[in-house]
Symmetry: C2
């Protein structure tokens, strides 16, 4: 750790990359330990595209893989994105060269974490990814470093700012999903292809990474149960609120016996719960440890400033010379996550039906539930306002997912039902 200076190569010069170039050029001595940092190489798809930071004097590489392998830099920062392709090839090249890698790429770590950890540890190269989860809010550092003296039971929170923004906006503006999404795209809050965000994939990548750190296993994105917010209707947001809940896209990883449940799904959270009160593009996370109890963190989950600061914090960590396994154990001994059979998951649920306005419907619905073994906690029938369509909403007591799904199938067959029943979990918090 006695170098003259640390030479950083940055691949990918979008808003985060440009923010990092700007941060380091303004404060090259930001890392408390060690010598100054300098950006000594950059690579992106287009050299001439206008950017908020001046890159004209920085050495340029057309090929990020060549830059990653070059002996003229010490730390490789990957901000290209994507689980495969040039991002993966460049990270592998840098690790093979024994170079520290800092990345904001959640898809890459969630889908190839184990093989990259093996490569990093075989080459004595740190592989850090604070910016991959919750932007500037240090969820990765907390799980990787602050919880090591404890046994983590669960992590659960709001990890996708775009979905959270859309749900908040639907509630406050009274507009439907499609309309709010279209506006979010126009404003730049949502990508042109928003399916990663609203489909829950982005949150699933992030919770897979947190689960690996929490439970000392390899990231297991492939086994995550994923449901997005595309089917959340304004009606459900309003009915949930009548019952004292707000619908959030919840990402969670929970130890259950020998297995782990890793999932992303819309969930009802009580209105006065900190997660229900996490609005707009904020992210928030509960970490529960056996000895420590519950820790809550909340902060900006994206954006150039926060994400660039998280990358800079990782660079500072590299400079301290700290050597840690990439996940909580040496890569060779990482456990394989045993997914909980989702059919055996238990919990409470919200069920919304649209029924024909005629006598005997409530009796039919409650009989069907009783026969299926589902116990009702609360029941609310709204006025159909002369449309002939009556919304019925109910919450259940704790029930196994398979029992509930069977009840919903039976319910769907009732002649009075005008739409498929809508089932949303109630957050177990």
């Amino acid at each position: 750790m006695t170098q003259r200076q640390w030479r950083v190569a940055v691949a990918g010069l979008g808003t985060v990359g440009a923010g990092l170039v700007d941060l380091i050029s303004r404060r090259p001595a930001f890392a408390p330990a060690g010598t100054p940092v300098q950006i000594t190489a950059v690579s992106a798809r287009s050299r001439s595209r206008p950017r908020p930071a001046d890159i004209s004097t920085l050495p340029w590489f057309d090929d990020p893989v060549a830059m990653a392998a070059s002996p003229d830099n010490d730390i490789f920062v990957e901000l290209i994105g994507g689980s495969d392709g040039p991002a993966k090839a460049a990270v592998e090249a840098a690790l093979r060269a024994g170079k520290a890698v800092v990345t904001a790429n959640k898809a890459l770590i969630a889908e190839h974490g184990r093989e990259l950890a093996v490569l990093a540890e075989a080459n004595g190269a740190p592989l850090l990814f604070e910016a991959a989860v919750m932007g500037g809010t240090p969820a990765v550092k907390m799980l990787r470093e602050a919880m090591v003296g404890d046994e983590v039971i669960s992590v659960a929170g709001i990890l996708n700012g775009t979905s959270n923004y859309i749900l908040s906006e639907m509630e406050t503006s009274g507009r439907g999903f499609a309309e709010v999404l279209a506006e979010a795209k126009q404003l730049g809050y949502a990508e042109a292809d928003p399916s990663f965000d609203v489909g829950g994939i982005d949150a699933a990548h992030k919770i897979s990474i947190l689960a690996a750190l929490a439970f000392g296993c390899a990231p297991a994105y492939a086994v995550a149960e994923i449901e997005g917010i595309e089917n959340i209707e304004l009606l459900d947001i309003r009915l949930a609120k009548d019952l004292g809940y707000r619908i959030k896209l919840l990402a969670s990883a929970v130890r259950v016996g020998d297995g782990v449940s890793v999932r992303v799904n819309p969930a009802l959270t009580p209105l006065d719960h900190p997660l229900a009160r996490t609005g707009g593009a904020l992210n928030a996370l509960f970490i529960e440890g056996r000895g420590i109890g519950r820790i809550f963190i909340q902060g900006p989950g994206a954006g150039a400033g926060p994400t660039a600061a998280a990358v800079a914090a990782d660079i500072a960590d590299v400079i301290t010379g700290a050597l840690r396994p990439v996940f909580q154990r040496p890569a060779g001994s990482l456990a394989t996550l045993t997914p909980l059979d989702p059919a055996h998951a238990v919990g409470r649920a919200y069920l919304r039906l649209i029924v024909r306005d005629q006598p005997g419907v409530i009796a039919a619905v409650s009989e069907t539930l009783a026969e299926s073994g589902v116990s009702i906690d609360s029941f609310l029938q709204k006025s159909g306002e002369d449309t002939g369509r009556v919304p019925i909403v109910l919450t259940t007591h704790t029930v196994a997912a398979e029992v509930l799904e069977q009840a919903v199938r039976r319910m769907a067959a009732l002649p009075a039902l005008l739409e498929a029943p809508r089932l949303i979990r109630i957050a177990p918090i």
Copy 2:
């Protein structure tokens, strides 16, 4: 970092020390990087006192300083407490021996942080103190490591669980300060001498440490402005609630121009603010960075489990081999904190008066404020219920502390006043 095992000496075997002995004996391989940890020496005031952990087989030292200097251990854990005396002597001896020191001692770090940092860095010895602030909630790690890429503007929060518990209990039970404190002592929630907690000294130690990490200066406990909760009356808790606020003991460190305001004081927080919603013995902290924005963390601030886990996390950090300055800069270049002149502090305030029930009093009060240049935001007169004593409560717009204090002095001289005016700040959040 290729040792056979890490040998840890623990001085102080209260609940935290016993918790640590228990944690390490159950999970000697808790540190993800490196070899197992073993407790190889212990010291406390009494060897025979009953403890939740078995120490009978552990090598015993009567003198913690001799244990700290002994070559038979690598990491010295100081859990004795107190800013001076054996705790300081033992930490100094360990650092002089080039040994890593982990401590939960906020008084020691807040009052002697600079000289200990100089000693640590001169001997190449890490000095870590995560457990000194917010117990198991990693406030120190966040400021020391996660914020290095950003410029911290302020840190503010609830850092003393005992005071927070007493304020919460006064509100929910409708009992006065003295009664709730007496009960808290009986239940073991407050020390026999509670003045460190309810007098704001403990919170001031903690915010001094966080200020040093946030602003790259030496801890400056001596310049902190401190006001405790001893004079908070149930009446004020109730009147504040009528106005939409909850009274909390707020610890804050804020950059203002070239100076820093470091203070602990009771403050009104809006009822729906996360700090107002931090009840019981919880701790909570806002960290605001220029690039990152605001991060909020909340969790248990004390207790054997959380605090022992924080000590264990520091031990794991030592094992990674990370070398960082003790505060954000090398000890020799730590800035001296320039305190803001409290007379120039500006903010909003709550003012409560008890006046004689007679005509013209409100006019006299509002004239006095107007003449002093204090602008009123809201005004509430409660019924005197035939006691002849009428509470008047008002909130001000932003005003300089010296202007407000002058107004209060003039007000105190009004013939209709039956008690000294009660002034409480409104949190600038």
